[in-house]
């Protein structure tokens, strides 16, 4: 069972990196919208797995995207942040349900899943564009980018989510 999880997550990791850098980084919709669908890795990652490994893995995921897109460690920083904040976000959304042994993401309501994904994306994009622009004078630019690109990422993540839904986990 453990090796199965490991295997699935490994495949997911590689595929999401490739899809991100070869397809979505080249999208440039309206000249600047590049959705970041690799966040789905953090959305799909098993809840009960070790937290330290999860944070480390997310850092590696961000770093691999950074290597491809020449962005130094922007993706790594923002992905590590949401990996660290994920338990807090989940407690906020799923509340006491999270404590049950039988809790699974697929068992929760659609609204909860949607909010969870949205929060992950918004926090990620906020950290990402703050670090990328790196000046408070351009706060409007940051907010504009966060808003528009979050929306694009959310739509694509929802589409991907329905395409490759994880019923078994």
């Amino acid at each position: 069972m453990i090796s199965n999880y490991f295997f699935i997550n490994f495949i997911r990791f590689v595929l999401l990196v490739l899809v991100q850098v070869l397809v979505f980084n080249r999208l440039n919709f309206f000249g600047f919208i590049n959705p970041m669908v690799y966040i789905l890795f953090l959305y799909w990652y098993p809840i009960k797995e070790k937290r330290a490994a999860f944070i480390g893995l997310s850092f590696l995921l961000g770093l691999s995207i950074d290597f491809f897109s020449d962005t130094m460690a922007l993706h790594a920083a923002s992905t590590t942040t949401i990996a660290y904040l994920r338990p807090a976000i989940m407690r906020f959304i799923f509340g006491v349900n999270l404590e049950f042994q039988s809790f699974k993401l697929s068992n929760s309501t659609k609204a909860q899943q949607f909010t969870f994904l949205t929060l992950l994306i918004v926090v990620h994009h906020f950290v990402f564009f703050t670090l990328e622009v790196f000046s408070l004078i351009n706060i409007l630019l940051i907010l504009k980018k966060v808003l528009i690109i979050s929306l694009a990422t959310l739509i694509l993540c929802l589409l991907f989510g329905t395409l490759f839904s994880v019923k078994k986990e």
């Binding site: 490739l18 850098v21 070869l22 980084n25 080249r26 440039n28 000249g31 600047f32 919208i33 590049n34 937290r51 330290a52 944070i55 480390g56 850092f59 961000g62 950074d66 290597f67 491809f68 897109s69 020449d70 962005t71 130094m72 460690a73 922007l74 790594a76 920083a77 590590t80 942040t81 990996a83 660290y84 670090l131 990328e132 622009v133 790196f134």
Partner: protein, 272 residues
């Protein structure tokens, strides 16, 4: 001691997060103040080969258009060649030439970020070195930043750090070409004095001050110009000749005199 260990165990996730965050923040802040990191770029073996494979697949789809571009360029060059007035044959001696040109192809393009880098499929093995100029038939693209065996990253002119010497065509008024990160079709030419007569549509070309690019390589045309805050210099919006979203075949310029120029300049500074 026990308490310290307990503290470490209790906050291990937080500490791990802080550690990883500090590493990434270190890299990020470095990228804001300095040039691209030596090993942290897409010119390495793995990423280069993945991009190259993807490029090899997608390159067939626009062969027609690329061919047309190359034919048009050949046509223009032949036109220049046939209409050359004085046919003085100088023996092509390596002592007489100051630039050599090699060709390459862009395998990764980017223009939506603040600091855009391109990757080309030529590297150290093709004697590509740092600080070589990269152009297309229409105009300049950027400057080679890092090289690996088979690949190189190019700092695009659409990059916060980009700073290229440029001038107004047929004059000697020069300024610096920078990018304000707003639009991928326009770059800014700054430090042109107020007394220079400007007109919308004037052509901007590379200046002679650069030891990277030859003089008079086209860049773009003046779209709009305003005085900057000090009211002494113009800030000029230059619309690029190159469509930066659609570039593929590029030429890499090796300036043979660059080392000599740099050496001389540093000597002069040291002597002061």
């Amino acid at each position: 001691m026990q308490q310290i260990i307990n503290f470490l165990i209790r906050y291990k996730h937080f500490l791990l997060y802080i550690l990883l965050m500090l590493i990434s923040l270190g890299f990020t802040i470095q990228s804001h103040s300095f040039h691209q990191s030596k090993f942290f770029n897409s010119a390495n073996w793995l990423t280069g080969n993945i991009y190259n494979t993807s490029f090899n697949i997608s390159t067939y789809f626009d062969l027609d258009k690329e061919n047309e571009k190359l034919v048009n360029e050949n046509k223009r060059l032949r036109h220049l060649l046939f209409n050359k007035k004085n046919e003085i044959q100088i023996a092509l001696d390596t002592a007489n030439i100051s630039y050599t040109i090699s060709s390459g192809q862009i395998i990764k393009n980017s223009y939506a970020d603040q600091r855009n880098y391109l990757t080309i499929n030529k590297g150290k093995k093709d004697s590509i070195k740092q600080d070589m100029g990269v152009i297309t038939d229409k105009g300049i693209i950027g400057i080679v930043e890092n090289t690996s065996g088979k690949f190189a990253t190019v700092q695009s002119i659409l990059n916060e750090h980009s700073n290229i010497n440029a001038k107004i065509k047929n004059t000697n008024h020069f300024g610096s070409l920078v990018w304000n990160t707003k639009s991928y079709t326009t770059v800014q030419l700054i430090d042109i004095p107020k007394l220079v007569p400007l007109h919308n549509g004037d052509t901007i070309v590379t200046g002679a001050m650069s030891s990277i690019f030859p003089e008079n390589i086209p860049i773009g045309t003046i779209k709009k110009f305003d005085l900057d805050l000090s009211e002494n210099f113009y800030t000029i919006d230059v619309s690029l000749f190159n469509d930066m979203t659609n570039v593929k075949n590029v030429y890499i310029i090796n300036s043979l005199n660059r080392e000599e120029i740099l050496e001389l300049e540093s000597e002069t500074i040291n002597n002061d």
